[in-house]
Symmetry: C2
Subunit: 144 residues, 2 copies
Amino acid sequence: MENQEIRDAGLKVTGPRVKILEILDRAGERHLSAEDVYRLLLESGDEVGLATVYRVLTQFEAAGLVERHNFEGGSSVFELNKGEHHDHIVCVICGKVVEFIDETIEKRQRQIAVEKGFEIADHSLTIYGRCNNPACSRRKEKGG
Amino acid sequence: MENQEIRDAGLKVTGPRVKILEILDRAGERHLSAEDVYRLLLESGDEVGLATVYRVLTQFEAAGLVERHNFEGGSSVFELNKGEHHDHIVCVICGKVVEFIDETIEKRQRQIAVEKGFEIADHSLTIYGRCNNPACSRRKEKGG
DNA sequence: AGACTAAATGCAAAAGCTTCTCATTTATTG
DNA sequence: CAATAAATGAGAAGCTTTTGCATTTAGTCT
């Protein structure tokens, strides 16, 4: 059961924490900001303070339960950590996010870190572009 | 002359702009936050408002004169755009930044974008780790 | 079950970073 | 040198995130 994950993180199993975990779980591959999580909580009729949402997300991040990403634009977004690292490709128009894993890139990164005398702690690769949604892609705009 | 770059960007050649460009130039590969630039201006005896620094940096970014990076931790940092794209490896302890270019990674990114149906606009790859500075590297901390 | 304690929560205030407003100043053009 | 649109400075305001503190709660021990 999921509550065990909270317990394993050394945190008390409280209403807000369980609910936030549920919301992230339901969000699947979507990335939610603290505001998003807060709004979804309210919509579910749960009275949780925004400060608590921030606190819990930060704790979950520290515990490795969730990952925080800082894409372009003010706020951080969060997603459940499913164990395997992945990078992101983000549509700059509609905000759609696709996750990917590429071992070639991972390997080169490790090599580069060694070359530069660094010991890798983490990395973040985000590609920004336009997705193939008609509203986003920029096909040759014929002299319309 | 550098002032021409400002003019080419469609901006008036003003004291603040020239000085900010100079500061970024002197900074070389170091990455400066808006605050950093502001402080350096004051230290040079130039009275420029922080708001102006932000405005000018944003304009320079829009004009392609500088690049903005959002590494972990609150604020954006800026560096002069020397024309060639590069990625970064950042020391999470001392903040040191090393730039690198890797064609293998670049190529894979283009392939991935195509696979996922995206048209690349930009990308950002940052590796976080500990540099080989004794104070930063985490050699097996022998007892004592 | 009831009591105890450290942790968690909610709220509002505060803190960073960045942008905006607007009166004043300045670069540029004729 | 006058005219004018753009740029500036100072502070207010905006956003996201954190913090302080009184109150509530989960987990533990009887």
